[in-house]
């Protein structure tokens, strides 16, 4: 356990804040930059991961376990979201033969 506490002492909380800010902004950039629906899904996962990382960092630094339990729940919600989202995506692909998000801007076929 001594080794672990040294590891936490080595990295200040600020660094984790900047790292997750950067990852979150990269996720937003991906959502705005790409047109493929699957890539946009992946960038949403990236944003969820940035928030998860920040939550774990805060939880470890405050010595409070609730944050890590919430990260566990966020992972379950992300898994559900991906399962339903990809099923919808496959149905859309079968109707439009494309994963371009600009085709879907009228919300009809």
């Amino acid at each position: 356990m001594n080794n672990v506490s040294e590891a936490i002492q080595g990295v200040p909380l600020n660094y984790y804040i900047w790292l997750s800010t950067t990852l979150f902004v990269i996720g937003v950039l991906g959502v705005l930059y790409r047109r493929n629906v699957i890539i946009i899904f992946m960038c949403i996962e990236l944003m969820l991961n940035a928030v998860n990382l920040l939550m774990v960092a805060f939880s470890a630094h405050h010595n409070e376990g609730s944050g890590q339990v919430f990260v566990f729940f966020i992972m379950a919600v992300a898994a559900a979201e991906v399962a339903v989202g990809l099923a919808i995506l496959i149905v859309i692909y079968n109707n439009t033969k494309s994963t371009d998000i600009n085709i879907l801007n009228k919300l009809k076929w």
């Binding site: 672990v4 040294e6 590891a7 936490i8 002492q9 080595g10 990295v11 909380l13 660094y15 804040i17 790292l19 800010t21 950067t22 990852l23 902004v25 990269i26 996720g27 937003v28 950039l29 991906g30 705005l32 930059y33 047109r35 493929n36 699957i38 890539i39 899904f41 992946m42 996962e45 990236l46 991961n49 998860n52 990382l53 774990v56 960092a57 939880s59 470890a60 630094h61 010595n63 376990g65 609730s66 890590q68 339990v69 566990f72 729940f73 992972m75 992300a78 898994a79 559900a80 991906v82 399962a83 339903v84 990809l86 099923a87 919808i88 496959i90 149905v91 494309s98 994963t99 600009n102």
Partner: protein, 194 residues
């Protein structure tokens, strides 16, 4: 030493996250995202969150990424079919993301002085402590999450069922694919309701 490990993991995760956005080939996007997730898992290990490290590797790098990869291979996406935005929109996206970065950094810089000092005995991330917490005070949310996963599974199966019905209709009307049209065509009523 651990600070160097943090720098290495942070550099690798940001680099591969950027490659997720800027790489053209969807398969490469997924593989770069796997690298990003592994790096985030390394950060969890640095923060001594062992349980979350294991769950993260299993759920994200294992299940979700395989699902993405499978869908990309199923839809046969590659570099040629990849839709591209025009240059103006790409430029606008980069400007917008940069502005968001500036806003968040500006908002968080002021809060730097309020950072707490952490104490050294940190073993809350272990399976034993998290399990106790999960099954005592978070028991109801845990059960609700299982309900949510069940709902998602039912929804995914229902969507897939409709999709199979459409495939069969196409095969029946156009009579193009021998392999699909040889399947027994079920009545539509049976597929949509009950």
């Amino acid at each position: 030493m651990t600070l160097y490990a943090f720098y290495f993991l942070a550099f690798l995760s940001v680099l591969s996250a950027l490659m997720v956005v800027f790489s053209r080939n969807p398969i490469y996007n997924v593989l770069y995202l796997v690298i990003t997730f592994l790096c985030v898992g390394g950060h969890y290990l640095l923060l001594s969150a062992d349980f979350l490290f294991a769950v993260h590797i299993i759920v994200y790098a294992g299940a979700i990424m395989v699902l993405f990869l499978y869908v990309i291979m199923l839809l046969n996406l590659n570099k040629e079919t990849e839709p591209q935005k025009n240059t103006f929109f790409k430029f606008a996206a980069i400007i917008t993301a940069g502005l968001l970065m500036i806003v968040i950094v500006g908002a968080l810089r002021a809060s730097e002085a309020a950072m707490v000092a952490f104490d050294n005995h940190n073993n809350i991330g272990l399976v034993k402590n998290l399990g106790k917490m999960l099954f005592n005070e978070f028991l109801l949310p845990f059960e609700i999450v299982s309900l949510l996963l069940l709902t998602a599974m039912v929804g995914a199966v229902m969507l897939g069922k409709n999709h199979m019905k459409r495939v069969k209709e196409v095969a029946k009307n156009k009579n193009g694919r021998a392999t699909i049209s040889t399947l027994p065509v079920q009545p539509v009523k049976e597929l949509t309701h009950e």
